[in-house]
């Protein structure tokens, strides 16, 4: 191995206890085994810089050391529409062909849970910032973001902190997304006490790129001697150890120490960098130049430069002294591993570097926009596959680049935890109207307008269906084409608490139903797998079961028109989501489904459009209310979660997509939290709660007790159909062998009436529904 000329740390000679103490003092989270493994890998004792490099690279966050092989073993990532699977910063799925050119939707999905728990505004904001970089660096135009959120119990013992975190997280997402100017098109929010001390802030970002214009996260061919260029904010010490921090269990008493691991957002600078980067893309395409481009996220300069080069079988020779820094006397390991925001790395042929630097430094004046910001050449790509970092004329790291990037792997034990869930024996409610209002007011069901109206949902002017109006958000994908892209995120934590496998299956299926409910074809999935400590066999079991559930659902709810799965093209694993007291969050495999509409004008919302149209249900109601909101308002959780018949589910989804694209439906809504009664109520109200058309339905299609029929969350759809389309609709659903259940009709009366055996059990004016539905979430935040 190569030589260095700075002090070596005598790990070889240190006894275990001394090594343990050394690692603790230096805030290195490597185990003794891992520290000794460095010596084995690089063939000598490491420098302190090298120790910090491996500390970052071997963190769970960067290396996926517990999860990688499980994901590889189980998840389906291939289908004919996959342009790029989960191997680079983002996955890419086919949008379609426009003028004979193939276009891709670039998708990334990550978590920013720990930072958001510790410093919620900044944590959430930098989550948005990071995910935008992941998509941008594929050469894509960024078109949308979304944010699934999980918070603690807003009425529980930690309610003040929960509310504080929830509000700050929402403000952070708004503060960043609004300023960069990317529309926030959907999201979901759940509250429960398992998130009291560990909130979840996941973020999804979409972009659009022509297949031939993709810029990869690795150096191009023949890149020897190409320049390594960093661009963006001046490096400081913020976020040093962020990747390692993301892989720790949060302990309230370490709060102050942990704060230092959170990065500082600068959406203003990012706004300018995005535009400057678009100008670089254009210039490079014009000149036919091939580049490598990568976001600087976890592990900062070290991680992005080493991966850019090693993934193309090159080495790198970098002078850390050439990095733009904003703090004096930063030690080399900090320059290398700090996670300062708003930075990227380019690999550029020397003949193009001048043009690249000019765009950032002169055309967009980065150095004037933010002190010390700009684009700077810091090193060269080398044929020799070593990773060399220099500082002050000394070599501080010189290791095989593959050693730096190959990672580490653990086979974690798994053991099924005891789950003692029982079905409650509830009495039938006396007053169904009250039960429905209570459900509509439940913060997990109530309108999330108070969150998404903080976000800019219409910027970029590409909106087709903005947040809240339908089960999924829809944007027009590309100018001069009719393609639309739909997006929705899902995962019910209570289902996963009862059953981590079926909880994951339901998350996938629900995300697909949501996308189908606007008429889009579910085309790809991403997963952000939020779990507890993987070293705990019970948590690891939950993780494994969750991945198995995702895989089974993706494989069985096939990509429409094929026998292929709906591929999983991007994702992220976030472990160690538990409190200092060892309480793990509910298993949370948060799924995003990306849908494609060939003709976005076909997309429909959930709001009832006309009087006297027919309302239909598909998806038989079943007695499987485990984890339901109905049980929750009765302080129960239950044991039987919705179980899926994949063939029926698949056909139901396909039939709804076909019906919408044939123009047969006026409105459509997926049945989920709060069940059938909630779905109809939301259709009556509409996303903006301005609905003025009522509905009259009868429950005589089922033998279930009325509360179970109304509030069971078994999968299904409700939709509105005009009389003239009934015959066509019946033929279509017959073809898919799906039972169409006539529920009732829409009415001039501004009322929701539900009857069983000709007796009205619910009779509520729309205004009452609105009052409950529009206040529940707002009150949870207050």
């Amino acid at each position: 191995m190569g030589g260095v000329d700075t002090d070596l740390i005598d790990i070889k000679g240190m006894p275990d206890n001394a090594l343990k103490e050394f690692l603790r003092k230096k805030a290195v989270s490597l185990s003794i085994f891992e520290a000794r493994k460095i010596v084995e890998l690089i063939g000598r004792n490491p420098t302190i810089t090298e120790i910090y490099i491996f500390n970052t690279q071997w963190s769970e966050h960067s290396s996926y050391k517990s999860s990688r092989h499980v994901l590889k073993e189980l998840l389906p990532t291939q289908a004919p529409n996959v342009i790029l699977g989960p191997v680079e910063d983002s996955g890419i799925v086919e949008l379609g062909y426009i003028n004979n050119e193939r276009y891709g939707i670039v998708v990334s999905h990550e978590s920013h849970n720990h930072p958001s728990q510790v410093v919620p505004y900044e944590g959430a904001a930098t989550g948005v910032g990071g995910i935008i970089r992941d998509v941008l660096c594929m050469g894509a135009k960024v078109i949308a973001i979304a944010d699934p959120l999980r918070f603690g119990d807003p009425n529980g013992k930690n309610k003040n902190k929960v509310k504080y975190i929830a509000n700050e997280v929402i403000n952070g997402i708004a503060g960043y997304g609004d300023a960069v100017g990317i529309p926030n098109i959907c999201g979901d929010v759940y509250f429960n006490d398992s998130f009291d001390e560990n909130c979840l802030v996941n973020v999804v970002c979409l972009g659009i790129v022509k297949e031939k214009d993709i810029i990869h996260s690795y150096a191009p061919k023949n890149a020897e001697n190409y320049d390594i260029v960093v661009v963006g904010k001046a490096t400081d010490n913020s976020g040093f150890g962020g990747a390692a921090f993301a892989s720790l269990i949060l302990d309230e008493k370490d709060r102050e120490i942990n704060r230092g691991a959170v990065q500082v957002p600068d959406p203003f600078l990012k706004n300018v960098i995005i535009r400057a980067s678009y100008a670089v893309f254009e210039e490079a395409r014009k000149k036919g130049i091939e580049l490598g481009f990568k976001d600087m996220g976890a592990g900062g300069i070290m991680c992005s430069t080493s991966e850019l080069c090693s993934d193309a079988d090159f080495g790198a020779d970098i002078d850390l002294g050439k990095v733009n820094i904003s703090m004096q006397n930063l030690p080399p390991y900090m320059i290398a591993c700090s996670e300062t925001q708003e930075r990227f790395t380019w690999i550029s042929p020397p003949e193009f570097t001048k043009a690249l630097l000019k765009i950032y430094n002169e055309d967009f004046e980065l150095p004037q926009i933010s002190i010390g910001a700009g684009a700077f050449v810091i090193g060269k790509v080398t044929k020799n596959q070593n990773y060399i970092l220099r500082h002050d004329g000394k070599t501080v790291c010189n290791a095989s680049i593959n050693a730096v990037t190959q990672g580490i792997k653990y086979d974690r034990a798994k053991k099924a935890p005891k789950r003692n869930f029982k079905e409650p024996n509830l009495k039938e409610p006396n007053d169904y109207s009250n039960a429905l209002l209570e459900i509509l007011k439940h913060p997990n069901v109530a309108s999330k307008a108070k969150a998404y109206k903080h976000y800019d949902t219409s910027v970029m002017g590409n909106a087709v269906i903005e947040s809240g109006y339908a089960d999924a958000g829809v944007v027009k994908a590309v100018d001069n084409s009719n393609f639309g892209v739909a997006l929705k995120t899902d995962c019910n934590p209570r289902y996963c608490r009862i059953d981590p496998y079926w909880g994951a299956v339901n998350a996938v299926a629900e995300s697909m139903r949501n996308v189908a409910a606007v008429g889009a074809i579910p085309s790809a999935l991403t997963d952000c797998l939020n779990y507890g400590n993987p070293e705990n066999p019970e948590s690891f079991y939950d993780f494994y079961e969750g991945v198995r559930g995702i895989a089974d659902a993706a494989k069985n709810l096939n990509y429409k028109g094929t026998k292929y799965p709906v591929p999983v093209i991007s994702g992220n694993v976030s472990f160690y989501n538990e409190s200092g007291s060892g309480k793990s969050i509910d298993p949370s495999p948060v799924i995003a489904c990306i849908g494609v509409l060939k003709d976005y004008s076909k997309a429909i919302t959930m709001k009832i459009k006309k009087e006297k149209s027919a309302l239909f249900l598909v998806g038989d109601r079943k007695d499987e209310l485990g984890g339901s909101v109905y049980y929750d308002i009765n302080n129960e959780i239950g044991a039987v979660v919705p179980i899926m018949d994949f063939e029926k589910e698949r056909n139901m989804i396909y039939a709804v997509i076909d019906a919408i694209n044939a123009g047969l439906l006026l409105s459509c809504h997926d049945i989920s939290d709060g069940g059938l009664a909630t779905a109809i109520s939301e259709m009556v109200m509409g996303g903006d709660a301005d609905g003025e058309i009522g509905a009259e339905i009868a429950l005589d299609f089922t033998n279930l007790r009325s509360d179970k029929a109304l509030f069971s969350e078994t999968s299904g759809f409700v939709f509105e159909v005009e009389g003239k389309n009934l015959e066509k609709l019946k033929i279509l659903f017959k073809f898919y062998k799906i039972n169409l259940i006539e529920l009732g009709k829409t009415t001039k009366e501004k009322n929701l009436a539900i009857a069983k055996n000709s007796k009205k059990i619910i009779n509520l004016p729309i205004s009452k529904l609105k009052e409950a539905w529009t206040t529940g979430f707002a009150e949870a935040l207050e």
């Binding site: 300023a179 219409s458 910027v459 002017g461 976005y600 004008s601 123009g663 707002a778």
Partner: protein, 271 residues
């Protein structure tokens, strides 16, 4: 054939609505280009200017203040005095108020766009609103195709959009001069001072003000995000009526008339 009006959409660092503003310009039948703040040389050759929404210069100090001090604004002011149209949308509207071009009665800042007063959401607020044109055709050059009392749906997306002034006589002067262009109203044109009709607490429900000469307009809602039927929400009949009709979806929505009117004015008065 006479050339098309050529519009500069100015990007100040931090703006983020330049692209959709340009799209509306082009769809209205004009030419145009996004011009960076530091490309001001020769900018006077353009026939009109749009200052788009966003967070120019990070809204440092106060929204629009630093933009208003940028040298490019000196040129825009001069061109406006020569009669060229200037449209400031959202952050651009804030800048026009901060540089005194709106309402432009004295040679200094007469109004402010204060933080929203909104009982539902503190700070930044995005929603669809309705604005009503109460003027006869005349003063404002951006409403040549908008009828008196016509109501137009547009989204707002701002934290500081409340038109206010300390000058007690200013409001009556603005009314008298016919400078108040759009006011927040209900769908059927009723002016209600209360939320949600008035989304930010603006005095007199003001959504847009023009200069005395009518060729400069500061508008807080976003006409460029409401210029195609596709962009409208399902709370508008227009969107629902054309569900499934891809050609209609790309047709102009009522707010497009702001840009069409700009075009007509340039053709009549500038070219």
């Amino acid at each position: 054939m006479p050339r098309k009006p050529n519009i500069a959409v100015i990007y100040f660092p931090g703006n983020n609505c330049e692209e959709e503003s340009l799209k509306a310009v082009l769809a209205a039948g004009m030419d145009g280009r996004i011009v960076r703040w530091n490309e001001r040389k020769g900018i006077e050759k353009y026939d009109g200017f749009i200052i788009p929404g966003g967070w120019g210069y990070e809204d440092r100090i106060r929204a629009g203040v630093i933009m208003a001090k940028d040298p490019v604004f000196g040129i825009i002011r001069k061109e406006a005095e020569n009669g060229k149209p200037v449209l400031g949308i959202c952050n651009g509207a804030q800048a026009l108020v901060e540089c005194g071009m709106i309402p432009g009665l004295k040679n200094n800042v007469e109004m402010a766009l204060a933080p929203n007063k909104n009982p539902f959401i503190n700070g930044y607020y995005t929603t669809w609103v309705n604005v009503k044109n109460e003027q006869e055709k005349g003063t404002c050059i951006f409403t040549k195709f908008t009828k008196k009392n016509e109501v137009i749906p547009m989204p707002i997306a701002h934290g500081e959009g409340r038109f206010v002034t300390k000058d007690k006589e200013l409001l009556s002067k603005l009314i008298k001069n016919k400078q108040i262009v759009f006011r927040y109203s209900t769908k059927d044109g009723r002016i209600e001072e209360s939320f949600p009709t008035n989304p930010n607490g603006a005095m007199h429900n003001i959504a847009a003000i023009c200069s005395k000469t009518g060729n400069v307009m500061a508008i807080m809602p976003h006409p460029e995000r409401a210029s195609f039927i596709r962009q409208l929400p399902d709370t508008t009949e227009l969107k629902n009526k054309f569900a499934g009709n891809i050609i209609a979806m790309e047709e102009p929505a009522p707010a497009m008339n702001v840009f069409k009117s700009m075009k007509k004015y340039v053709e009549e008065e500038i070219l």
